[in-house]
Symmetry: none
Subunit: 217 residues, 4 copies
């Protein structure tokens, strides 16, 4: 009977955080059900069994709501930085994580968001930069590469190339794409720039391939 019991039949009126969570989950379901382009405020409100005003009180538009829903329903991109023992494995792991995330957050959504509200995505971008820096530093410590002091443009290269791929194609990213980015572009470049000291640059890359596949998926 007491108000704090909460298990009332009539389902007490929801408020604050509880209500907000319901809405964000409803938005997430709606996103999965109809996609971003056909997601409407009315649809989300209906699914969350509330009024549109409640949505507009919290988020100014569809884009903000969807971003909040994504943040709420997905763990952070980088929970922990991968450490597979060698540079190639680490980079593949990072890209693999991005690609997997891509399965949920379809390009549909990204383009829709960018179209509706600019000034939003760079978030992911800068995060990736930090992760890559760490990965490269470790590789330098292991002696795989001479120096981790690479141009920012090189550091962000793998993530940017992958993201570009994700933005321009609808289908899911194959593992082959990831290995191509790493083996044909990133590693050669890193070794050419920072790894020239040793000289035994390319050879070590090929034998690793088999071990790392499980890491990606």
């Amino acid at each position: 009977m007491s108000p704090q019991t909460g298990d009332r039949s009539g389902t007490q009126r929801r408020r604050g955080a509880e209500l907000e969570a319901s809405i964000l989950e409803a938005a997430w379901e709606e996103l999965a059900a109809v996609g971003y382009s056909r997601l409407t405020m009315e649809g989300v409100a209906a699914r969350a069994r509330t009024g549109k005003q409640v949505l507009y009180r919290r988020w100014r538009n569809r884009a903000e709501l969807v971003i909040a829903a994504m943040r709420h329903n997905t763990g952070s991109i980088i929970d922990q930085i991968p450490d597979t023992g060698d540079l190639r494995g680490d980079v593949l792991a990072v890209l693999g994580r991005m690609a997997r995330r891509h399965r949920d957050v379809a390009p549909d959504i990204i383009h829709g968001l960018m179209a509706d509200a600019p000034d939003l995505d760079p978030v992911t971008l800068t995060i990736m930069s930090g992760v890559m820096t760490t990965v490269l530093k470790r590789a330098a410590e292991r002696g795989e590469i001479a120096s981790a002091e690479l141009s920012p443009r090189v550091i962000t290269l793998p993530a940017n190339l992958l993201r570009h791929e994700m933005l321009l194609t609808r289908h899911p990213i194959s593992d082959q794409v990831l290995t191509e980015i790493v083996d044909e572009v990133f590693l050669p470049l890193v070794h050419a720039t920072a790894g020239s000291s040793t000289g035994e640059t390319l050879p070590p890359t090929s034998p690793h391939r088999a071990d790392i596949e499980p890491q990606i998926r």
Copy 2:
């Protein structure tokens, strides 16, 4: 009263190609005036002084209309392939042309189009690939690089990196971005992969810089 009297307010009624051109120009103006997201079929029809049906008879939706308008109001991306005398200049010229185009076709439009209608953009992508192949072949003939037989992923690398940049930022692309892509990523990679034959790989790149700047803008 009679049609040839000519005292009518508007010109004769337009048809076929003439009408189509008017519409595409109207769409282009509308795009410039309000941007893609606020462009409506009604707005274009009104500006072109015609009915909506006329639009729908030719293009199934906003996206198709806008693409047609872009094609109609912009020269082809590649009228002729640049030939500055060295690889670096050529690539910078190609990227420069993309970037300039970016000033007209704002990311606003690209994201909008991708959101509205997928399966469209690869066009630009494949074109760029052809251009780069030619540029590289010429470089190989000049002896700048050992072989033009590079991985497709490397060939498309500069264009993809630039496009990624254009997709994720609102502001216009600075020339510095172009030179970074070429000097920090593309040329080192090409020389590391295909230019190992000669050995005098990196040195030639730096002195070229000054000459080519005017080529870009």
Copy 3:
């Protein structure tokens, strides 16, 4: 199959007058179903199986729509001027018609209309004035009253009193109210003002009563 057959299963799209009639009938039904205060544009649109825009294209607001619906679904107040043979019968007939109309157009509606949109009702008012003038003229010709040249305030008196009654009470108007207005107010006043010539003014009124009752309803 042919378009001009018209008897298509899909029930051709309605337009112009036909559509307008459907809407006005829907509004009339809605009015009967829920009353003026709970009548909504959405409800009418739904009942008429059309969109709200179609309503707003024709009528600026609820009040205008309802008035149009009333005009469309009710015969004109005065199709023909009653002619029962004596003044009392005529006036009772006129009031009776007003009262009957009152059963359909509830005070609910009138107050709602007045509240929503002023400057509308005088219509009925002026019409009544014309009818009463004719009725009085005939009475003068018959010799019932000395002159039909009465003050406008006297001419409109019965209708105004009745309307006042209708405006301030919810229940339907009883026949007794009508006879009171006529016998206790209007006829005495008319005879006092215009009928002093003859002198045998009041007596004739009472015997008439029985005959005219059926005239009222």
Copy 4:
């Protein structure tokens, strides 16, 4: 500064009668500011610097609140019954008071109230009846009329006609309307019905005119 706590921003929290008075005054101001149709509970609550619940605890709806506000902010219609010395003056005075009141309580409000909540207005109606009865009794005592025993319909006639006028027109009631009601309708009728004993019915009315004008306004 303040009674107890002192440094609080507003004054002490209001309660009971004090709070109620504030609200009713706020409602009155709101009524003047935006009119009945645009008056909202939220608006009143905001103006009174309180919550909506406080309003709903006291009045079930807008209509009740507004009626309470009117009662609170206006003196009773009839503080004292006018006594000008003759019937005509008294009746004009009564009507004049009604008309003056009409300037404050616009028809806007009356129709709105009637639309929102029926069963309310008869109040004024019955009050007027009592006043008129007294006025007529005095006239009978003075010998102006033979008997005060008139039909209720005649007694309420002037007030009803005036109210009808007020209900159907937006503009303020002119003094001419009042004199017409009295001179062309009420007095002739009263003399025809109750004043026939003397015979010198109409003559006395005209000379009075001048004296009474000031009484009206």
